[in-house]
Assembly symmetry: C2
Homo-oligomer: 423 residues x 2
């Protein structure tokens, strides 16, 4: 089925028709009349005649001043204070798949601490042959791995269970980031200590005052979990767990313990606060699901979206967004312009990779009429992202975590967008 | 052939023997006596009892204060001033493959300018059916691509032609970075304007006062060149060409024109200053090679290296570095511990990808004796990185650009390293 009101995948010829006019408009400095010369074209500008900054100006650079709105934001009413709270990645303003550390969302339980490499210790204890304590320098001597993974807070989109609440992809879906991690396989360190046959779980714990701790089945701990010390090539930032955090690919962000100080091998899970009263999912009948570690396949259109309005009239429009799955790679993404009645397959910027963000695009000729924009992810396990109605049918309305439902943006004829629900 | 003095790829059993002692040492806080308890283990520390920063502390974060040495550096004597100069990526301190924009090397010809998106114009003129001028907003309406590519200045390692000069991988090989770019294919824009049959070259030019301009054969311009506006997900930084730069995969960095303002389709190259008196290679007989666009396969050990000494005694040691090729993907990297007499194959962190950095590792049991560390890249075209002697035989000693010779670090028994040449 194809949508009748908006042509998808316009041919080059269609683009030419649309953008030649665009180009002519630009020559005229955005005005309708091509007879008015654009001073940006016809006159020498300051930046083209003066000198700029030298190479000693910024030993470590920050974004240019004009991008000062592309920052993490928190929502004041969401938590009692900002020490135990969360902020959101500005995904509405980003493209590609990598998230710079500087604007990657943070979740702290007792604030971001400062811990020097020299003061760092990692203990492996419990059901092991030889309890070990590693310094940071010790960790650097083990074989390293490098992988790109997404980290999503289980509460991402959690405010949306009961209905459309937050107006912007940053706030509805911004508890996610995607980085290239370098570190040592947890398996390597566990093998170094020697796991006893009765060891079936590990309990991982952070060095901050909250002692954020989670139980992980040994099978996962011996699979793809990393004890990471770099992200996107450089040291972890303070707020991301400097000097060492756990990377638990595909599983909820709370398990990615920051300032990792201890891994205890156990014969059963701890049933800690963070895996009983928190990070469990209360169903309609009052019973709570637990051990809901895997992040289900999910996607969101990042532009256009409420914080990223369409600023031009009808014609070529790039619809783009992100898709991911904790169960494997993204196999495909479908986009609907009419609230889920009709779907068309989006273009993936690159083939999906295991437990990492995938960027998708749908290039259309927008006819200028309103749209109910949705995206639907499919992963390599065959799982398809559900509608909100489908999810509520199974999970009820009590949940906070693991809302991976299809998101709807109502894009109006004036290009502005709003978070809405469709029945 | 294998090296006799250092076992490569130690088995897990060997690692266990090495690191159990390491662990025991750590329990004792680095002292030799395990009887002295480590207060970092036995006592509650400030960071484990107090509160850290809230989620509103850093809307856009910077590296933690302890990493203040991981910054771009310039070399004062290299150029007359810093406006037309270069600085160097701290590759000795990075891992993985992605380079954060904040510490990615800069090369300016008249300084880094500030150019607002609203003031940005890109003209396509010359041998086209319809000359066009695009605003930034226009560019956002064309289909986008996302790719990770390295950008290397042709002068990278240029100071080393005549002998070992600069003591550190940052200075010898740091004119390189590797980012995920998002943008529009130049082909798309050229097709929009319509290239006339007699168009065989494009001349690309920057908006800064230097008007840095280069000629690119049409075949390359229609292949994989991107008109990019994002790097690693976010807007280009000021120093990387905000709002728009050219990405010319695999070709020398000078062609990656920043603040791109014009693409002129021509029937012949311009033979501009930057492709005649500069960015050409003078051979022993005084004749200069030109059009040496492709960056040949190259690699360097980033650690250990002169700025990254070994800080521990004999035992497990991670040797790591970067490899890349402008002709395709890295197929393999060999490492020598004895100045090129014996070679062993390094482990690639991931399969090489087209015109992007590849991270390699060699995990050895270091016996504590001195080493002459080298790495040698091989690419998918079958090309093998040459020795300095091989390169000089062909190119003489007059060259500045395109030194892709094998680099040697003399690692001493005390762990410190020095830039040396081996005959």
């Amino acid at each position: 089925m194809t949508d009748k009101t908006h042509d998808a995948n316009p041919s080059r010829r269609q683009f030419l028709a649309g953008a030649a006019a665009v180009g002519a408009g630009a020559v005229a400095g955005g005005s309708a009349s091509a007879a008015t010369p654009d001073p940006l074209i016809t006159q020498v500008q300051d930046w083209a005649s003066g000198l700029g900054d030298g190479v000693d100006a910024t030993p470590y650079g920050l974004p240019i001043q004009y991008e000062s709105d592309v920052v993490r934001r928190n929502v004041e009413w969401l938590t009692a204070d900002t020490i135990s709270s969360i902020n959101f990645t500005p995904i509405h303003a980003l493209d590609g798949t990598i998230t710079p550390q500087g604007c990657a969302f943070e979740r702290h339980h007792s604030g971001a601490i400062e811990l020097r490499k020299e003061d760092y210790r990692l203990m492996i204890n419990g059901l092991v042959d030889t309890p070990l304590v590693f310094t940071y320098a010790d960790l650097e001597r083990f074989p390293r791995e490098n992988r790109i993974y997404f980290c999503e807070c289980a509460a991402n989109s959690g405010m949306e269970w009961a209905g459309a609440q937050l107006n912007g992809a940053q706030f509805t879906h911004g508890m996610i980031h995607n980085m290239e991690y370098s570190g040592v396989s947890l398996r390597t360190l566990l093998e170094e200590a020697g796991v006893k046959p009765e060891g079936k779980w590990v309990y991982v714990e952070g060095a901050d005052a909250s002692s954020n701790g989670r139980s992980i089945p040994l099978e996962k701990a011996m699979d793809d979990v990393l004890v990471a010390f770099k992200a996107n090539g450089e040291a972890l930032r303070k707020e991301h767990g400097y000097p060492v955090r756990l990377v638990v690919p595909g599983w909820e962000g709370n398990m990615w313990v920051k300032w990792l100080r201890r891994v205890e091998v156990m014969d059963q899970p701890v049933e800690s606060r963070e895996e009983t009263s928190k990070y469990t999912d209360t169903l309609a009948n009052g019973v709570s699901r637990k051990w809901t570690w895997e992040m289900d396949a999910k996607s969101v259109v990042t532009s256009p979206s409420p914080q990223a309005a369409i600023t031009h009239g009808p014609g070529p429009l790039v619809i783009t967004g992100l898709a991911w799955s904790g169960r494997g790679a993204i196999a495909g993404v479908d986009v609907s312009l009419d609230g889920g009645k009709n779907w068309q397959e989006a273009r993936l910027a690159a083939p999906g990779t295991d437990k990492a963000l995938t960027r998708f695009y749908l290039d259309i000729n927008w006819d200028g009429s309103e749209m109910l924009l949705q995206s639907r992810a499919r992963d390599t396990s065959g799982y398809v992202q559900p509608t909100k109605a489908q999810l509520r049918e199974v999970r009820g309305l009590n949940s906070i975590y693991h809302n991976n439902a299809i998101q709807t943006w109502w894009v109006k004829a004036n290009g502005e967008a709003e978070n809405v629900e469709v029945s």
